[in-house]
């Protein structure tokens, strides 16, 4: 693989990860916490209505997980392409 091709392939995989993770980011916050909160509020877990829980708790937990997943994925990707030096 030439240097340019390698860089391009790396970038493409990175963009794929970013798009997937941002889709989840959007779904838990704008989806579950805002747009569909009324529907989700009909479901109750302990004292929490589910839409309310996503808006004030759940979305934030998922945000943290998303970043650490990205960290892991990218560390692996860096290694695969030899960019970890």
């Amino acid at each position: 693989m030439t240097k340019e091709n390698k860089a391009r392939a790396y970038w493409k995989e990175n963009i794929k990860y970013v798009l997937i993770l941002l889709a989840i980011w959007f779904l838990v916050s704008y989806g579950a916490g805002i747009l569909f909160k009324d529907e989700l509020n009909t479901i109750k877990i302990a004292g929490f209505k589910l839409g309310f829980w996503f808006a004030q708790q759940g979305a934030m937990y998922v945000f943290v997980i998303l970043i650490f997943v990205y960290v892991r994925l990218m560390n692996k990707l860096d290694k695969k392409y030899g960019y970890d030096a």
Binding site: W25, G47, F63, I67, M74
Partner: protein, 574 residues
């Protein structure tokens, strides 16, 4: 009476002790971590570990507003408070995935550095400097005010003296240590503020629900054995008094959407947050420290809505329909500060707390929810004092981060890059220290004489960051063909539209009276307009770019280079 007096003195003493110890700690750290070069001063030498940077970023980020006001705002807004919770955390996902790694690889000192180099123009650099100064000054005034308020409420000095004491402390470690001093004091400040926030929250959670974890406690059953869920009880109480159900909120869906988006994008575009990622060693450290920062922030941000529910339920139960004469000591104490006030409109001697303004007799400042919470819950004196030390840590750490951005904008972006490129390293360091002094003085001035539009200030800072930096940086990384014409036009349109909307619909300076909500564009409030201004920036940038020529080859090579993580070590040694 005698025992009350002793209790009151003890809180004071505790406050002096705890505030004194933490201040001594900050000063000690500042002396130990003096800056010797511009690289030390701007980016702490570039070798900060991911954990230290994560803690520093969290303290930098969580301001007096997060610590003192946020839980209170949520307790009055109910569900709607989610705009702050998600808005002020979700931006870190954008930072970690879209900005931090690339800006670290780029490896300069400031955000205008990136804008100026990527868009190969000093015009772009100067627009970026203006944005950075506008955003940071609007934000820092509030922090100095916050320092003053904490001092005045806990140590009975007046607000202005409090501001001045705060100025000297910040001056000392920001000027001496620059980013290096700030980083390590922020690490200490994070520890102080998170401890101070969590201890009362855990105590109260145990009292009210029997669960030591506040995040679970507020979804649990009440500890009184009634088998009722706390949130159901609060929904019921709110309805009884004529408020919206706590878990439902009252803002429109589109406005909640827009505000959340504006705050998230604004977070990712705030220069004092972005520069923190210039301080780590490698690209992978930038990603990791964004994750650590968010984890540490979320610890407080998921606790705040629990505190909000505890405090609101507690307060309603203590005051609603109870005789004024039976009010506990904290009520009287906070009455004298004006944070809580009672007017017996129907003269029945009881407190009616109602949504209907005509019959409501109680006015409560939202800050009381955190400041007085330990007293309301009858916690020990040292816990009450701890809250003061925590509030000061939150305000000082954010103020210092902002002051550094301001001083770097002046000494590095303006003096070194535009006005006098021949300045020596030593000269630039002196300039950086002098501009830090200047910035502290200006911030202190606005802390003592807060501008009349304080309420608009935070929304404005986020709106401006969202409308200017975020699109310019994102396009600069992900769109190789983006050129200076597009980026500059986009930033200018973004800032101006944001300012105009804010002036018209938040400050009402264009009309005789503030225009009604029904006139808002698409029902979007000034707080949420940053999302629209950001879109305008993107549209204008891309359109103008299509009609102008592509950036030069060297610039396109910079873009290729920042997309690859290896070799970030050399980039900093430019």
């Amino acid at each position: 009476m005698h025992s009350l007096l002793i209790a009151a003195i003890a809180v004071q003493d505790w406050t002096y002790i705890l505030v004194g110890i933490t201040f001594a700690l900050y000063i000690g750290i500042a002396i130990w971590s003096r800056a010797n070069s511009t690289k030390d001063f701007y980016v702490a030498g570039g070798g900060v570990s991911p954990w230290a940077n994560g803690m520093a970023t969290a303290a930098d980020w969580m301001s007096a507003a997060s610590f003192i006001s946020m839980a209170g705002i949520i307790s009055f807004a109910g569900y709607d408070g989610a705009v702050y919770l998600m808005g002020w955390t979700g931006g870190y996902v954008l930072l970690a995935l879209l900005l931090a790694p690339y800006l670290r690889k780029f490896g300069k000192f400031t955000v205008p550095d990136f804008i100026g180099d990527r868009y190969y123009s000093n015009a772009a650099r100067i627009v970026a400097v203006i944005c950075a100064l506008l955003v940071s000054f609007t934000y820092v005034a509030g922090q100095m005010r916050g320092v003053g308020i904490v001092f005045s409420r806990f140590l009975e000095v007046d607000i202005n003296s409090g501001v001045i004491i705060g100025m000297f402390i910040v001056l000392f470690y920001a000027v001496l240590g620059g980013m290096k001093g700030i980083t390590y004091t922020q690490v200490a400040q994070y520890c102080v503020l998170i401890f101070a926030f969590m201890v009362p929250a855990i105590f109260i959670s145990i009292q009210m629900t029997g669960n030591p974890i506040p995040q679970f406690g507020f979804g649990g059953e009440l500890a009184d054995g009634s088998g009722t869920y706390l949130l159901d009880k609060l929904d019921g109480l709110s309805k009884e008094l004529g408020f919206a159900e706590y878990t439902e909120g009252s803002k429109s869906t589109i406005d909640v959407f827009a505000i959340t988006l504006a705050l998230m994008i604004g977070t990712a575009g705030l220069p004092h947050v972005i520069v923190r990622f210039f301080t780590v060693k490698r690209v992978r450290d930038a990603r990791k420290s964004a994750g650590i920062a968010l984890l540490l922030i979320v610890l407080l941000y998921t606790t705040a809505p629990a505190v909000a529910v505890f405090a609101r339920t507690n307060m309603i139960e203590t005051v609603s329909d109870k005789p004024y004469t039976s009010m506990p000591e904290w009520f009287k104490k906070w009455e004298t500060t004006g944070l809580i006030s009672f007017e017996d409109k129907n003269e029945d001697g009881k407190i009616q707390y109602l949504a209907d303004g005509k019959h409501n007799e109680l006015t409560v400042d939202r800050d009381i929810m955190v400041l007085a919470n330990p007293e309301i819950a009858k916690l020990p004196n040292w816990v009450i004092a701890l809250v003061a030390a925590g509030g000061l840590a939150a305000a000082l750490s954010t103020a210092a981060g902002l002051l550094l951005v301001i001083s770097a904008s002046v000494s590095h972006d303006l003096i070194k890059k535009v006005i006098k490129p021949s300045i020596s390293e030593k000269g630039e360091l002196v300039a950086a220290r002098l501009s830090a002094v200047g910035a502290v003085v200006v911030a202190g001035y606005y802390g003592i004489h807060p501008p009349g539009f304080v309420a608009a200030v935070v929304a404005l800072a986020f709106g401006l960051a969202a409308a200017s930096f975020f699109p310019a940086i994102i396009l600069g990384i992900f769109y190789k063909r983006m050129n200076k014409e597009g980026a500059v036009a986009g930033m200018v349109v973004g800032i101006i539209s944001m300012l105009l909307y804010m002036i018209k619909y938040k400050l009402g300076w264009f009309d005789d009276t503030l225009p009604d909500k029904s006139e808002w564009w698409f029902g979007i409030s000034p707080e949420g307009f940053g999302a629209v201004a950001m879109l305008l920036n993107f549209i204008v940038s891309i359109t103008i770019m299509k009609f102008t020529k592509a950036p030069p080859k060297e610039v396109q090579d910079i873009v290729e280079n920042i997309r690859i993580p290896s070799g970030a070590g050399e980039a900093i040694n430019h």
